[in-house]
């Protein structure tokens, strides 16, 4: 089960309101390479993993991604909270405001809602972990695109932290992939096609 801790994984902050930027950063809330997608991918894949290291790693990284979902939600919330509608009207955030007001909604930077088709969950562990390696690199790339979109030092700190986590997760998944290959070599009966 999950238990909430009443603090963030990282002190996510903004130095000024910026609804335009909120409309872009939201892509890591509910977009294809966003944190919700990452979390649900790993927390769906963990059940059928053949080795304990893989179950634990997917469980812990899937949990950490939920904390990142909250960090992105915090940034979007702080960027738009208290901004008057007539200011929002002039920004890229206006289409979001027309649907949802200032509430957070998992969507990408074009307003497309989150869908689970953003990710896959295969019984074949090599297929899943290889997808996860790609997912971490795609998320890292998106953080770099977003870093190009702002000069706010507080937001840069937060996005740089999240970018760094993608690199660490990539390293851990790489180790899991090697352990899976070792496991397959030792148990060819469980993988007839290997």
């Amino acid at each position: 089960m999950w238990e909430y801790k009443k603090f963030l994984e990282f002190p996510a902050d903004v130095t000024r309101k910026d609804p335009d930027l909120a409309a872009l950063i939201v892509t890591q809330f509910g977009g294809p390479d966003g944190e919700l997608s990452a979390s649900l991918r790993y927390l769906s894949q963990m059940y059928t993993m053949p080795i304990p290291e893989a179950k634990a790693t997917l469980n812990n990284i899937g949990t950490e991604e939920l904390a990142h979902f909250e960090i992105i939600g915090t940034l979007v919330y702080k960027l738009v909270s208290g901004v008057p509608a007539d200011v929002i009207k002039q920004t890229r955030f206006a289409p979001h405001y027309a649907k949802w007001g200032r509430a957070n909604f998992p969507e990408d930077s074009s307003g497309n809602p989150f869908i689970s088709a953003f990710f896959a969950s295969h019984e074949d562990p090599i297929a899943s972990i290889t997808e996860d390696l790609a997912a971490e690199q795609k998320a890292r790339a998106v953080y770099e695109y977003l870093l190009d979109m702002t000069d706010d030092p507080a937001i840069i700190d937060t996005l740089a932290f999240l970018r760094q986590r993608e690199i660490i997760h990539f390293q851990r998944f790489g180790e899991i992939l090697n352990l899976l290959y070792d496991f397959q070599e030792k148990h060819p009966d469980r993988y007839p096609g290997f």
């Binding site: 009443k6 990282f10 990284i61 851990r172």
Partner: protein, 92 residues
């Protein structure tokens, strides 16, 4: 009842210290999952976890629950108190 409601209390330096120790453990756990025989990381994990729990206990006793299952002797129920994590200005 509203008159009994105490003012919001937060200790930002202590909260940030807790967040930092929490993060060290997030990282240590991930590393140990793929290096389950690493004595050095286990030591760091255990020392850090011990400190984390001490800091959390100090915070919860004095400033309110960080976990909703904290056995809080005081009323009114403090778990609902603002600020929530997304409402805090961490730059102070």
């Amino acid at each position: 009842m509203t008159g009994r409601r105490r003012p919001d209390r937060i200790n930002l330096p202590l909260l940030k210290d807790i967040m930092a120790h929490n993060f060290v453990n997030v990282e240590a756990v991930l590393f140990l999952n793929t290096h389950p025989d690493c004595q050095e990381m286990l030591k760091l994990h255990n020392q850090n976890a011990e400190k984390y729990h001490r800091l959390v206990e100090e915070y919860q006793r004095n400033y309110g629950p960080l976990y909703s299952n904290y056995p809080d002797a005081e009323l009114p129920w403090r778990w609902i108190n603002d600020p929530w994590p997304w409402e805090i200005d961490y730059r102070r």
